[in-house]
């Protein structure tokens, strides 16, 4: 009964979304405002309906109602209530529903907040968002339905999944569910998937505005870009959080001391983030100088397209990945939708591009404008390299028939230099003036950080560790210290200026800097976060050490200046259907005892899957990451351990946190409507007029 209600909520949402898309376009084209109003109401109604469907699924998950095929798939008696909640997005059907719900939420928010402001664009915004939503809700309703049940054919013993009872079959309720994949049974499950999905779905709003601006011919004006920028920031912020949480989770759980595997699904998340970052920067040029308007439209469309592409390859499994969902029938429908979106956007851009030829003027090649353009090139270059590496295995198989793997060595070697160049640019570009930067002045400003960084590099390169390759490691250290100094210098100069002009002390000056210029100094905090992450990456990439060995009780394994002494190992049963083998070992550094570590291997009996749980000793200087690789089943005398020493890795997480805090500070300004814009808006001509047709 309840589930039929959920199913009908899905169906009605689908119909409403389709209606809203159609009515909005019809109303705009024919000039009948009441259709557009009706479309808006239909669109607003989709959100609570989908919320109802989601709540019903959650109810089924938490109460362990195994009549639902989805619940039987991802939930089980051995899972805590917390995990059962997160199982909402643990499988294909639930996560598609969640995706649709998030998208409808964004659409509803825009339609409420922006209804009075961008009236000309609104019908087409509804068209795009509701059209997209209709597709995803359609997927939920017709292809991968969370309300499907399992039916049992008494004649053949076959089990099939369907929403309504097929003739001759009976309801089948398993005694217990499969439960989430053991790797997903982790605290990270509450954070990473939802924030990632919010990030992905959020990009549909700026995309819809871009398409609406193109259709109505308003892409050359500034109004829509201001709206777009803010919504992009929100989506981008969530995607950033999703990326950082994903990395942290992988580090905790996957057992190889790594946080980024360059897996196709991970790359799929990274690409829209890269172009989104390029957009957020490049839109500053448009605000300040009115340049690159068309390029910004392209960037936004590219970001959304990459987001769509990413979810396509994740859910259809065209590219093999450790993250892949189980196969479903949505492939062909999804491909058609992707084709329509890509080709439609492309055609629109071709049609409208020539209406956007702005008069671009550049005073000097050495200016902030050129720095921004160069930055765009670097971001796009990295995006292309990642995209190419991700799709190349498919191309290679198509052309030559042999399967190849494009793994981390490729991505690191190709994107590494580009990222390094980007970080360097990030450090010096804020010192570039708009229009024209005097080279001599630039040199003078950079002198102190440059010398300081050389000193720091050589001081840091002295310790006993042998990084490899040595020259690259030195270069990395220099880069990080140089950019850190230049970024900190921005704060110093700003504070000093305030101290001179306002007579404040240093701390007061700093805090006023942040509160008066949130966008700028929030941005610099983000850059600081990037530098911190770069430090962590350099440390982990070039200075990492590892060792593996089998040792008996009382014996030790050594790596760098750490020693691990094996004490004992034991086996016991966990509360949720797992068998645990846990070793106890003592960690020493330079002979001094630090702590006791207990790495373990959990074996989930039902799924026949082992999960390695590392024992980690964390300090800002390094992580000592210990894994239990093997043990003697009889005698428990010797065990095999693997020890990773990951220098500076915690700077990645600290940097990530700083990054997010910086974004929140910078975003605070954008959300403040009352703030005066840095450019003049066109006087509102369309706000009182009813919807006009296409110009």
């Amino acid at each position: 009964m309840l589930y039929d209600l959920g199913y009908f909520a899905l169906l009605i949402s689908f119909v409403l979304a389709l209606y809203a898309a159609g009515a909005a376009v019809f109303g705009a084209q024919s000039g009948r405002a009441q259709f557009v109003e009706s479309a808006r109401n239909a669109a607003l109604l989709v959100f609570p309906l989908l919320a109802l469907a989601v709540l019903i699924v959650i109810y089924g998950l938490v109460t362990l109602d195994f009549t639902l095929a989805y619940v039987a798939d991802v939930s089980s008696r051995s899972m805590s209530t917390f995990l059962r909640l997160t199982a909402l997005w643990g499988g294909q059907a639930g996560s598609v529903l969640f995706w649709g719900w998030m998208m409808s939420g964004f659409a509803a928010a825009v339609l409420i907040r922006k209804w009075q402001r961008d009236r000309e664009l609104m019908p087409y915004v509804i068209f795009v968002t509701m059209g997209t939503l209709a597709f995803f809700v359609g997927l939920s309703a017709f292809i991968t339905n969370p309300f499907a049940r399992v039916w049992h054919d008494p004649a053949t013993g076959e089990l099939i999944t369907a929403v309504f009872q097929p003739t001759g079959m009976m309801a089948y309720v398993p005694l217990d569910g499969q439960g989430l994949n053991p790797l997903l049974r982790h605290f990270g499950m509450i954070g990473h998937p939802p924030t990632t999905y919010i990030g992905f779905t959020g990009f549909v709003i700026p995309y819809a505005f871009a398409i609406a601006a193109l259709i109505t011919g308003k892409a050359g004006e500034d109004e829509w870009i201001r709206t777009t920028r803010r919504w992009t920031l929100v989506a981008w912020l969530f995607l950033t959080i999703g990326l950082v949480l994903g990395g942290r989770w992988a580090y905790d759980v996957l057992g190889w001391g790594g946080y980024w595997g360059w897996d196709p699904v991970e790359n799929a998340m990274l690409m829209p983030w890269l172009t989104g970052t390029a957009f957020l920067h490049s839109v500053m040029i448009q605000e300040k100088r009115g340049m690159l308007k068309m390029w910004n439209v392209v960037l936004i469309i590219l970001t959304y397209s990459l987001s769509l592409f990413g979810t396509f390859i994740t859910r259809t499994g065209v590219i093999s990945s450790v993250h892949a969902f189980s196969k479903s029938a949505m492939g062909p429908a999804f491909l058609v939708f992707v084709a329509v979106t890509f080709l439609g956007s492309l055609l629109l851009m071709f049609k409208r591009l020539n209406t956007l030829k702005a008069e671009h003027e550049l005073d000097s090649l050495l200016s902030r404008e050129s720095a921004f353009v160069l930055q765009n090139l670097l971001f796009l270059g990295i995006t292309f390299a990642v995209f190419w590496g991700t799709t190349f295995p498919m191309i290679s198989e198509l052309v030559t028939g042999t399967k190849i793997t494009v793994g981390p060595p490729f991505f690191k070697k190709v994107t590494g230099p580009l990222f390094a160049a980007l970080v360097l640019l990030m450090g010096i570009a804020p010192l570039f003036a708009w229009r024209k930067q005097a080279a001599a002045k630039l040199g003078k400003s950079l002198l102190v950080p440059f010398c300081g960084s050389i000193v720091i590099t050589f001081a840091a390169a002295i310790p006993h560790w042998q990084p490899h390759p040595y020259p690259l490691a030195l270069l990395g250290l220099w880069l990080v210290s140089f950019v850190a100094l230049t970024t900190l210098m921005e704060f110093w100069r700003g504070a000093r200026a305030r101290m001179h002009s306002q007579g404040e002390n240093f701390l007061a000056a700093l805090s006023h800097l942040l509160s008066r210029n949130r966008r700028r100094y929030g941005g610099y905090i983000i850059h600081l976060g990037v530098v911190m992450m770069a430090l962590g990456v350099v440390g982990d990439e070039f200075f990492k050490a590892e060792t593996q060995g089998t040792i008996g009780v009382g014996q030790s394994l050594a790596v760098e200046n750490y020693t691990l002494t094996f004490e004992n190992v034991r086996q016991y049963s966990g509360s949720d259907g797992r068998e645990i083998v846990e070793a106890t070992a003592n960690l020493y550094r330079d002979g001094e005892f630090i702590t006791t570590l207990q790495p373990r291997r959990d074996y989930f009996i039902a799924q026949q899957q082992p999960v390695t749980v590392p024992a980690v000793y964390s300090t800002p200087g390094a992580d000592v990451y210990v894994l239990l690789v093997g043990w003697e089943a009889i005698g428990w005398n010797a065990s095999t351990f693997k020890i990773y020493v990951n220098p500076l890795i915690n700077w990645v997480w600290a940097g990530g946190l700083t990054f997010i805090i910086g974004t929140l500070i910078a975003a605070w300004t954008s959300l403040d409507e009352k703030r005066t814009a840095s450019y003049v808006l066109r006087p509102a001509t369309a706000s009182q007029i009813a919807y006009v047709g296409k110009p």
Binding site: S320, W388, G389, V399, G549, T612
Partner: protein, 161 residues
């Protein structure tokens, strides 16, 4: 007598070499040596998992095989070639730089290079179009500010930026 001495010396020599052989095998190959090779390979079965971290039974068998091959005197390169011959090119973590696969390396470099050229051309074009410094409406200073104040303003601005 001399024959017995010779035999004794020979036995001594033989046992010395035997001991040397044992000594050579005792350290090598360590798990680290095996991982060094396994790091460059991917598990042929599991998707996108390097061979040194993969935990399945099959991967353990493969690492054991690498250990055997290394102790038989194979070089790292020989072990890797064996894996490629047995399991196909997808077992290599880093794509080859020959044949069709070379395109995976070539294109990003080409793309960035072409991008750079385009960017420079575009920037130059923008610069070329810069008209002579005409005072335009939005850059003209407001007429009602006295010139001394204006001058001080500009000075201050220059100092701060």
């Amino acid at each position: 007598m001399p024959r017995r001495l010779l035999l004794f010396l020979l036995t001594l020599a033989a046992s010395f070499f035997a001991a040397a052989g044992v000594y050579a095998q005792e350290g090598y190959p360590t798990d680290d040596d095996v991982n060094q090779v396994a790091k460059q390979l991917y598990c042929p079965v599991c998707p996108n998992t390097p061979l040194d971290v993969c935990e399945t039974k099959a991967c353990q068998d493969w690492r054991a095989q690498i250990k055997d091959q290394l102790s038989a005197g194979w070089t790292d390169e020989q072990v890797i070639q064996y894996f490629v011959a047995q399991y196909g090119e997808r077992v290599l973590a880093e794509p080859r730089r020959s044949g069709f696969t070379s395109f995976v390396w070539l294109l990003p470099v080409l793309a960035v290079a072409i991008g750079l050229v385009i960017v420079v051309q575009v920037l130059r074009g923008w610069k070329a179009r810069r008209v002579a410094p005409v005072i335009r409406a939005d850059s003209a200073p407001p007429a009602d500010i006295p010139p001394e104040v204006l001058k001080r303003l500009e000075e201050e601005l220059r100092r701060v930026s």
